[in-house]
Symmetry: C2
Subunit: 433 residues, 2 copies
Amino acid sequence: MFNAVGFAARHSRVLFASEEKGAPSFPSSASIPLAELRYMQGFPAPADKQINRSDYLVEYPKVRWAFQHMRELIPSRQIGRGHGPVTALPASADISAKIDALSIEMLDGENISFAEFLDRSYADAMLIIHQGKVVYESYPNMADAQSPHMLWSVTKSFTGLIANMLSLEGLLDLNSQVTEHIPELAESGWAGATVQQVLDMTADVKYSEVYADGTSDVIHYGLSAGITQSSQWTGPTSLYDYLPSVGAARGHGEHFAYRTVHTEVLGWIIRRVSGKELAQQINERIWSKLGAEQDAYILLDAKGTEWAGAGLNASLRDLGRFAEMLRLGGHYNGQQVVPAELITEIQRGGDRDAFARFGRKGMDGYSYHNQWWVSHNPDEVFEAMGVHGQLVHVNSAAELSLVRLGSHPVASNDFTYEMTRRVTSALADLLRG
Amino acid sequence: MFNAVGFAARHSRVLFASEEKGAPSFPSSASIPLAELRYMQGFPAPADKQINRSDYLVEYPKVRWAFQHMRELIPSRQIGRGHGPVTALPASADISAKIDALSIEMLDGENISFAEFLDRSYADAMLIIHQGKVVYESYPNMADAQSPHMLWSVTKSFTGLIANMLSLEGLLDLNSQVTEHIPELAESGWAGATVQQVLDMTADVKYSEVYADGTSDVIHYGLSAGITQSSQWTGPTSLYDYLPSVGAARGHGEHFAYRTVHTEVLGWIIRRVSGKELAQQINERIWSKLGAEQDAYILLDAKGTEWAGAGLNASLRDLGRFAEMLRLGGHYNGQQVVPAELITEIQRGGDRDAFARFGRKGMDGYSYHNQWWVSHNPDEVFEAMGVHGQLVHVNSAAELSLVRLGSHPVASNDFTYEMTRRVTSALADLLRG
């Protein structure tokens, strides 16, 4: 049997360190730029510069290279851009100096600049679009600006959109039981849960998602899906084998708890009811309609199943187009890509009390709904977020779309979210003029 | 220690069957179309319809699906199409019925039609371009006409072009010693060989490449590179670890023997002298200049090293553009992509006597030069070929480019080459009118 405690002891280095354990010190982002790290350079690269599927997540800062090269480590499925023209992202007058100089007050009273914020959040790339024009575009840690970047849980928000589109079309009843679509889960913790509860992560399963804890279920999920590898792992080697083993917890519909496995179940439901892979759904319904510059892709387990909760990779500018589409009520590139009512529904949000009880640093007042983080602030901001700082931020009120790719050293947005929220708010104020 | 004989006994099914063993019977191509095979359909697919990295090569006809989905089984590196417009492939008057009806005499006196030829060669897709216009385009076994397809040794011909381009630019002396660039091979069979001998496969190493023989070195190569997987394999798990273990044979420069490992060494040399991955070289020098419709990609071993002799995947129509570029003396899409003198040099060919001694069914009169098969026929045809029927056929004299993607049941072009040669010759005669 796999010894999760032993695995954690060996592998829980910086990545799995938690702020709660008391201020571990990390190298600053500026001190570890990709070019100087020299990972995977040389034929072969020196042993200490090699990166593989077993070590990329546990030996920081290897993620700074890996998140731009995931398909080189792990099998993947194409999400084609289609054959239409690329949608222009026109540039505005350059106000990057003005943005860089923004002074933003942090929780502790310190004022930092936008440039300092990029460094503190280990941003790999940042794109800001205001009124449809690019006002800021920066690649502090990208070997190639066009590279698809690992998006982690931003994936969930795409999966959520697909599920809701199927629902609008009458192909998926959100009040139906999970087990009606996936009988394989009849003995699992999802017995009795509805699809909507999975979408809102108020279905309640016995599953802990704490990256700082090597005994956490999320580590077993990762090993089963092939997100990471260990020669000692003797558990399931595919998502379809793993998910039925997740047990029951307190009761569905009352507690919010952020669980990637819910989205894996959602992906399974999407495939079952539509008869199509998730990649095909994202391609047909979203990606091929944006006028993207690049194909996107999604990573796969050993049996070819997509990581519906974590595996998407796409480039900064294409995510900018995606954010713009959402900002504009789903209408982009001359067509209605996502029905406007789905975006309104996201902004309506989920159970704020349940969210508050879960406790999420820097996210007071938020809720989670249909696989999106919903601010409930006056601008009705909603967001997709990945675990190392990836962010798709949509603020229709301020006519602002913001995308950040990141590779920060702590596997939790707790690491930067408080700061990020203050910065995006100050930025909206600046752009509103 | 890995038991190759045992591995062969368990896995040498149809794929490794050899014609010499006496007419094994295979299902006809028409009887095993992809749609009816239903591989990887269902979530999950039924056990007998699943395909993975351990079984795709050894359980025929799984290759019919796998060759269109290699990146879903194995890590890969993008070879981008760039951002320019797609080069038009204009259609000619439709003469496909005329081509299908061609009657071609086989070695045994039987006459078959072109349509029958496609079936007998298990063609997945066929493209014929005459005088720059598409005269035949057919997808008998493709789920998606645009899918990149596994090219196997067609890869070698791309790698050869890159090496020769580096040579023309003075970055690689073809008369230099292999070990001058790769000191790691000083104790290997490549000691004493020149780069040109590697290009022509007249460097002589102790290495057998007989797919029908499970004890053959090519099986060890495949397991080391991750082309296939076996839990029993305890040998090297990367090309850079494997290649130095290949020993010496008779002597360099006298014997032609087709060895994929030569091209892996060539890829290593290219990377060392240029400081770039092979994927980047193919992208910058060839793929981004063709006006391709699709990104291509190349498969990787567990340490991120490209299979320089086998790993390229590209779509039918993009290979048509590549063939047209070569037919036109390297000038295509408004630019000189490959220097014309390199194409003339390919056509000059290699050592025909050494080639004849090697013995290659259906290829009388041929030689192998700079990683291309050279016909020395009156039309000066030259070809790139992959082991399951992939073919890039360039006939400048007849203004003909032909590309075939294939998935035939025998891992050798011996299976169809005699027939293929007769058909391409008859086709040139037809088109010449």
